[in-house]
Amino acid sequence: MAAKEKVIGPAGFYSIFERKGGAAPTATHYCPGCGHGILHKIIADTMMDLGIQDRCVLMSPVGCSVFAYYYIDCGHVQTAHGRAPAIATGISRAEDDAILISYQGDGDLASIGLNETVQAANRGEKITIFFVNNTVYGMTGGQMAPTTLVGEVTATTPNGRDPRDAGYPIHMCELLDTLKAPVYIERVSLSNINHIRKARRAVRRALEIQRDKKGYAFVEFLSPCPTILRMDAKGIERFINEEMEREFPLKRFRDRSVEAEPIERRESDFSKASLDKAFGVSASDSIEVVTNPEFVPKGVKISGFGGQGVLSMGLALAQAAYKAGRFVSWYPDYGPEQRGGTSNCSIVISGEQIGSPVVDEPDVLVAFNRPSLDKFATDVKKGGLILYDALAGAFKPPEGVRAIPVPATDIALGKGVEQAANTAMFGALMEAGNLGLPGEAFGRALERTFAKKPKLIPLNLEILETGAKSVR
């Protein structure tokens, strides 16, 4: 008999539900009296009316409407439970002209996906959310939903929802109405023909907003689930009109569709020229790194308080080594004291591929403060060198290690720039570090460091030289 039935489907439905298959390929999988079928039909009709079928992508959620893609003739993405607004965000950002319809039930939208729901609304994503509220989890067998009414019996509230244990129904329209970005928020009902007419108008408005790329629209539908709620047609109509509406009043919360401006996003630029420009890539950065197994690798550790320019001095040293054609690595160790405590970094300079970038036994230790001396001085290799800020006070190095106090802070203060102590120390390292790097590489590295503040270059070169002189 099914084969002979002539289904006069709405425009925008597939004529045969091939993805569904089975014995009745022109019938939906929804129970008699379910609100999903009604809403599907309205969405499909409206999509065709507005001429936006090709642009539409519908998110099928987890819940009874997981198979919305059986029916509505547009692009479809099936989503994880609660994640539809995030997935729609991804599609919308990737494809500016796509019209995203996120179709979600109460458990999906207001429970497991509440964060995604609120945040997508708050960003004002170009998405229309159709929220089907029937007060229960349908597909999993009628458990309590976030919108279950107080006293309502479900599979997991056998004695009725008790707010002392399970809280109160969540009001999604009211909650979202506290946010600035949404363009349109309305609650309608699918309980009877009069309500369905109004619901149709809300669907139209929400999709017009997407057509015109104006932003976020949210429509909540109080929807019948007679099977799970064990009601007949009259009973479920009464339940929605009297009990649900008392808790969830029908209302247009806002409509800013007239004043909202369209959101247009730029097209992605894939050209190499634009990339090279963005990253500042230029042929002049080309350096020939020379393999030279004769070069004895040098490990340098630089340590001090945060704010003393420890990491940036390390970077300048790495630049100097790189400009000199050496293999080089720089690695920061924030340690547990990252915030406001000491920080240090390791620089390895080599004539070959570098193994570990972490320097445990430095050839040279640069210490900007006393704690750094206390912590790392004993790690320095025999025959190695310690450069430390003279302000750290008297210090006796371990046997076989040379230690030189550098008046780095004093030099910097003398030039009126306290934060340039690391430049003075860099000069001392250039002079006494024995790192096998030419002096001009240090100057060039400083120029690179201050490339964006060229006014500071002459002064820093001066401080570099003063630092070098101080240990000569």
Partner: protein, 347 residues
């Protein structure tokens, strides 16, 4: 070649953008946050799309969305964030969507700390989420490879329509080395045969991972396994160093492989014939290549900052139960001499 000193995390963004990736969705987490920050700086500069998501779950689902639309999309995180992303990765694998996910592994379990470890090996290599799926997993060991492997990862992701994980660690993420910039920039075009991009060419398509019919879902799984077999057949990559005559083989990936490399040189100076076998693809794992060395009678040492997670695979590959392990935990790097001691013991 034009080169600059670049941080490992930044190199990922360089690679992704030259590879034609035009969407990034992420959430802050140390030690991967620089990837997010660099994306926020460079993506919008040339019209590419960036969103700081509200959560790791939202971020991976935005990735799912942009991937479903056929775009090249990147995600990045670290241990705890990767755990949260597993739901989304399972859906991406199930729906056969291409994307690249970078894991800058930190020390665990739980909140652990922000130091480096390699303890996400099993999570990345064996699937990680629910269901019988696999990620392609690439293991860089330098800043240059952080860039180059990201480019390679996009090619593999689209060749097989499969998630690809770049398994790095806190050291590779934060260290700075010279980076040669890519010579070409890829302009990606959407494959209208499967993508859902909100246009006429793709409106007949469906992206989904649900199949209620048992046989249908079984067939889908069989198809996925056949894909993984093809990947195993065609995409294995590894690097060998002084293994030709080696008696003792270190097996190591990522930052640990560089320290192992130094240990090989040190052992050779002592006259011990040591070599390094470095898997570059962790799935597909180089089973046959390791087996060939085992057949020669080599001894094996797994060098990894985790509890022998890779050693299990070395045991399976070589048939040797007796594979030694050199490891550190908690953010500590393996030291060269620690490896050298074990080489002496095994040799």
């Amino acid at each position: 070649m034009p080169a600059q000193l670049v941080e490992g995390n930044s190199a990922v963004i360089v690679g992704a953008m030259y590879a034609g990736c035009d969407c990034f969705f992420g959430y802050p987490i140390t030690p991967a946050s620089e990837i997010l920050q660099e994306a926020s700086k460079y993506f919008p500069m040339i019209g590419r799309k960036f969103v700081q998501a509200e959560s790791e779950e939202a971020a991976i689902n935005m990735v799912y969305g942009a991937a479903a639309a056929g775009h090249r999309v990147l995600a990045a995180s670290s241990g705890p964030g990767m755990s949260l992303k597993q739901e989304g990765i399972s859906y991406i694998a199930g729906a056969e969507l291409p994307c690249v996910i970078v894991d800058i592994v930190r020390a665990g379990p739980g909140l652990g700390n922000i130091g480096p470890e390699q303890s996400d090996y099993n999570q990345a290599v064996k699937g990680g989420g629910h269901g019988s799926y696999k990620n392609i997993v690439l293991a860089p060991n330098s800043v240059q490879e952080m860039c180059d492997f990201t480019i390679k990862a996009f090619d593999l992701a689209f060749k097989y329509r499969n998630p690809v994980v770049i398994l790095a660690d806190g050291v590779l993420g934060h260290m700075i080395e010279p980076l040669e910039f890519p010579k070409t920039a890829i302009e990606h075009h959407i494959d209208t045969s499967w993508a859902v991009a909100g246009n006429e060419a793709t409106m007949k398509n469906l992206v989904t991972s649900i199949a209620l019919d048992f046989n249908e879902l079984e067939q889908h799984n069989v198809k996925l396994q056949a894909k993984y077999d093809r990947i195993q057949e065609n995409e294995v990559e590894r690097e060998e160093y002084r293994t030709e005559d080696a008696d003792v083989i270190l097996v190591s990936y990522g930052i640990s492989s560089r320290i192992a490399n130094s240990a090989v040189d040190a052992a050779r100076k002592e006259g011990i014939k040591a070599g390094l076998f470095r898997p570059i693809t962790l799935f597909p794992f180089p089973w046959d290549e390791l087996k060939a060395l085992a057949d020669r009678g080599c001894s094996f040492i797994s060098v990894e900052m985790s509890n022998g997670q890779m050693r299990d695979d070395i045991r399976l590959a070589t048939g040797c139960k007796d594979v030694a392990l050199v490891s550190r935990y908690g953010g500590n790097l393996i030291e060269r001499d620690q490896i050298l001691d074990m080489i002496r013991e095994v040799a």
